[in-house]
């Protein structure tokens, strides 16, 4: 069994290595026909740029995106500089160098990778999946009998912030930086998924399609791990199945199929303000121009945030979204599960959390207010601030760096819910509802707590669960996503997630159940 695991690990690493090398491999040769098509498609009016590409790029063979990208970037920057100088605004190119390089790369690639998409898929994704499953499946036997199996978590480099964890940390951050800020390097990856993308939406794959597919794959494989680890715990099984379903069907398949049907690309479960650009001008225009379905989406998206979300939180707590439906939560609960113990439990971290997460919520609301104001008044500025500048700042700092690079990259060191806890404005909104108006609570079972600390250690949201449990108090916290792991790991059966009457939900106690009734009456009634 151990042997299978190690062979699996090797296979996985081979797949991962090939995948990692791909951005720097491949040959690109831009033909003048292809350039003409691009010029036409992109409506490029800059003859400086076209000239430059024609003389410097066309007909030449480039090895790897690291050669194509600088050439394209240079041509584009030079062209724009000259147009700016001559005030030829209509000729300026607004496509980013990165996108332009990706476009040119996608259309001009030749050689092994583009011609063997299926094989290359197998050598990367295929080997990765097979290897990972070989690594995970033997646990059915190796973990032994049903029950909590956290043995050795703090002895292993990967899960105890050792060198493996740091490598994963750097790798994930690198991956996200590439994805958000140098996506032309993802071009070779997109080829592997062209067949699937064509089948779904009828379009070739872009780097976001690659990301979406990877996301689903990683979640599925790591969900298998969850199923094995928590096979005694039905709550965890249901929850894992649910997030997996919503990711694959709602976040991945439906939007692609909608594109095929000439509808807007939309993830029906992605609620504003997590979906922060829902009310951006371009999206609103897009939706309004898409006829009935666009209007429906506009209506649904608004209702989702204003009515569905709070009502569901009232009945079930924010868990219905954060750990049953949400994509970010889904990744955190599958890929991130091995790292859940790293969330900071200190009071200080809680303080930072409250400032940050509510700060982001205020930010997104102010930005959206500005956006809507400028949409209806058709002015680009509000109180002297350029709306698009504010939007760009949010998109880069919060949307990309916080949610992506930090959100996932930090898993191995700071735990799997950094974004959900410190950054997600939707979580902040749900949290306010959960704290003040909800039937959800984690009930503490009378006086049974032995203060062992398992619950706090494994709380991914950094809640010091024990601090409540050892006082006999129910846990009512805005940040609780109801993953149910505290209840699972508690060796004394102290914790239960449940939805019940609001009366008695918050129960401060001085003296715990089991002591003198007179003493309890005396102090707890105060």
């Amino acid at each position: 069994m151990k042997a299978i695991k190690y062979i699996g690990l090797v296979i996985f690493l081979i797949g991962l290595s090939i995948f990692t090398a791909l951005p720097l491999l491949g040959t690109f040769k831009l033909e003048s026909d292809t350039l003409n098509t691009i010029v036409k498609e992109k409506k490029i009016k800059s003859e400086v740029f076209i000239e430059d590409l024609n003389s410097n790029l066309v007909g030449k063979t480039y090895n790897g995106m690291q050669e194509v990208s600088p050439a394209v970037t240079k041509a584009l920057n030079n062209a724009n500089a000259s147009h700016e100088k001559n005030k030829e605004w209509d000729k300026k190119i607004y496509t980013s160098p990165s996108d332009m390089a990706a476009l040119i790369g996608k259309k001009s690639a030749t050689g092994f990778i583009v011609n063997h998409k299926g094989l290359m898929w197998f050598l990367t994704f295929g080997l990765g999946i097979i290897g990972a499953l070989m690594f995970i499946l033997p646990n059915i036997i190796l973990l032994g009998q049903k029950g909590i199996k956290n043995d050795g978590i703090y002895h292993k480099s990967a899960t105890n912030r050792g060198w493996i964890a740091w490598i994963v940390f750097v790798y994930l951050i690198g991956f996200y930086l590439l994805l958000y800020f140098a996506s032309e390097y993802a071009t070779n990856w997109t080829f592997l998924l062209d067949p699937l993308s064509n089948a779904l939406s009828g379009n070739p794959a872009g780097h976001w399609f690659v990301y979406g597919f990877m996301y689903c794959t990683v979640m599925t494989v790591m969900a298998v791990r969850m199923y094995i680890k928590y096979r005694h715990n039905i709550y965890q099984m249901f929850r894992t199945t649910s997030v997996l379903f919503f990711q694959i069907v709602f976040a991945f398949l439906i939007p692609e199929i909608m594109v095929r049907l000439q509808m807007p690309y939309y993830d029906f479960k992605n609620a504003f303000p997590l979906d922060y650009d829902f009310f951006f001008q371009w999206n609103l225009k897009d939706l309004i121009n898409s006829g009935g379905i666009g209007l429906f989406i506009l209506f649904w998206g608004t209702m989702l945030t204003l009515i569905v979300v709070p009502v569901m939180v009232y009945f079930f707590g924010k868990r219905w979204y954060c750990s049953w439906v949400c994509g970010c939560g889904g990744l955190a609960e599958t890929l991130g599960d091995p790292y859940r113990q790293h969330s900071d439990k200190s009071l200080f971290a809680w303080r930072v959390e409250r400032y940050l997460v509510h700060g982001v919520l205020v930010f997104v609301l102010v930005m959206t207010g500005m956006t809507l104001y400028s949409f209806f008044t058709e002015s680009g500025t509000v109180l002297g601030l350029k709306v698009s500048t504010v939007q760009n700042i949010y998109s880069v700092i919060i949307g990309s760096i916080f949610a992506g690079v930090i959100g996932t990259g930090f898993y191995p060191i700071f735990g799997n819910r950094v974004w959900c806890r410190f950054g997600c404005p939707l979580a902040a909104y749900l949290g306010v509802v959960q704290r003040f108006k909800s039937r959800f609570r984690i009930t503490t079972n009378g006086g049974q707590c032995i203060s062992c600390g398992n619950c706090s250690t494994y709380c991914e949201q950094g809640i010091d669960v024990r601090a409540y449990a050892q006082k006999g108090e129910n846990i009512i916290r805005a940040s609780c996503v109801g993953c149910g792991v505290c209840s699972a790991v508690c060796p004394r059966g102290v914790l239960k997630l449940e939805n019940g009457p609001e009366d008695g939900r918050i129960n401060p106690t001085e003296i715990l159940l089991g002591n003198d009734v007179n003493l309890m009456d005396l102090l707890n009634k105060k």
Partner: protein, 449 residues
């Protein structure tokens, strides 16, 4: 300002300190020789098993003590002079108190076995034991076999710990079945099976005769009393119960027996000296409880009560209904009220036992034979709601009530398969009753009446 000094930073001492702080401005000092900060002894096993780091066993952050003006002192008390109200430390320092709380906990039992002090023999109580174990049994190369002596809760925890590092374990249990002085037969035998299924070499009916040393004064093997069999091993864990840790009081005028003798107000024979937690011994047992109660909850409760007394609201220690819980490898156990084993059961105590046909799930309910009055419940693999059973015990409900409303008491996580209907069915068949279990009702669960 009155100075309260507490010896022992375990659950009882710390609870007392916290509550004294809540109710007063007195000067508080906690003394311990074991660790700088309070930690949860019950979680020691999880550190060895790699579920947690030691720091995770500390329920309060380090700033907590200063913020609450609780002074911590790391020192060992060697003598108490109650005349001058002075503590003497190993370092020859002294400290004067106005009121003294002795909360020094327990230490592992040693029954005078030959070789019990050899290198490689250890208990599992203090943080130092854990550190020792990490050195003696880091893996199964250094420790090729461990023998555990004494089949109680700590013994089975130690066995579980060692098994997580694949160290072969022989488990010597004096009784005919695991913990059957406490557990009724059906449950005890289920745990026997479970221990064996974890590849632990369980030896029932087996006593330790002696521990054999090698030439370096290290453990080499043990000999079994009954058969004379010699079992080679590198580590011997002594887990045959605990005893109050009060040797340092012998030179004082504080009255002791097994533990520090206290009355219902937790006062010792000396004015202004109190004892709580594992080390306290009641002159007369309270109800069915033992005079020395070495469990977490009672230590905490004594701390809660004593704080009242010290802060001027004199209160007797008057614990409510008994409850407890534990975990045997993968099986969780909870108990409410009293379910006695066959050994201690009275004539009029009858049991209803149910066991799941294939899973490690079972329960035993004790009740009075004649009146069907509910006495207590043990469950394995089913979690129960403490409040409900506390209420039923207070209201002296009978079996019909318990069976009818059993669903209210289930505390398993959501979506778990529940077995109340099967249980009630089995009860109906065994006792010829026709009880229909009622659906769970929030209203009943929350009704305080």
């Amino acid at each position: 300002m009155e100075r309260i000094v507490i010896i022992g930073n375990g659950i009882s001492g710390v609870t007392a300190a916290r509550h004294i702080r809540k109710n007063s401005d007195k000067k508080i000092t906690i003394i311990s020789a074991e660790t700088d900060y309070f930690f949860s002894r019950t979680a020691l096993m999880y550190v060895y098993m790699g579920h947690m780091k030691f720091e995770h066993t500390q329920p309060y952050e380090n700033w907590f003590w200063k913020k609450n003006r609780i002074e911590l002192k790391k020192a060992f008390v060697t003598h108490i002079d109650t005349e001058t109200k002075t503590l003497h430390f190993k370092t020859n320092e002294t400290l004067v108190y106005d009121k003294l709380v002795i909360a020094t906990g327990s230490k592992p039992n040693k029954f005078g076995w030959p070789g019990q002090d050899l290198d490689g023999v250890l208990g599992m109580y203090h943080k130092q034991d854990l550190e020792q174990l990490e050195i003696l049994a880091p893996n199964n190369k250094v420790c090729k076999r461990a023998v555990i002596v004494g089949g109680g809760l700590i013994g089975i925890e130690l066995a579980e710990m060692l098994r997580t590092r694949d160290i072969p374990v022989t488990f010597l249990v004096r009784e005919t079945s695991f913990w059957n002085g406490v557990l009724p037969k059906g449950e005890s035998s289920m745990i026997n099976e479970h221990i064996l299924s974890h590849h632990i070499d369980l030896r029932l009916n087996t006593n330790l005769k002696e521990i054999i040393s090698d030439e370096n004064g290290r453990v080499k093997s043990i000999i079994i009393e009954e058969t004379g069999e010699e079992i080679p091993c590198d580590v011997v864990g002594l887990t045959a119960g605990v005893t109050p840790n009060i040797d340092f009081l012998k030179s004082s005028s504080i009255e002791t027996d097994k533990g520090v003798l206290v009355n219902r107000f937790l006062e010792t024979n000396i004015k202004d000296v109190y004892a709580i937690g594992d080390c306290a011994q009641q002159h007369e047992a309270i109800g069915n409880r033992r005079p020395v109660e070495a469990v977490w909850y009672t230590g905490r409760m004594m701390g809660e009560v004593l704080a009242q007394t010290i802060c001027g609201n004199k209160m007797p220690y008057n614990p409510g209904h008994w409850f407890n819980s534990a975990k045997f490898l993968d099986i969780e156990y909870q108990t409410y009220g009293w379910v006695f084993s066959e050994r201690d059961k009275s004539e009029n105590e009858q049991h209803f036992h149910w066991r799941h046909p294939s899973e490690n799930i079972c329960l035993t309910i004790a009740f009075q034979k004649d009146t069907k009055l509910f006495l207590g419940i043990n469950t394995f693999g089913i979690r129960l709601r403490h409040e409900i059973f506390d209420r039923w015990l207070t209201k002296k409900q009978d079996m019909t009530h318990v069976m009818t409303y059993l669903k209210d008491a289930n505390f398993d996580p959501e979506f778990y398969k529940t077995f109340e209907s099967d249980i009630v069915n089995a009860y109906n068949i065994e006792f010829g009753t026709q009880i229909h279990p009622k659906k769970k009702s929030w209203k009943r669960i929350f009704s305080k009446a």
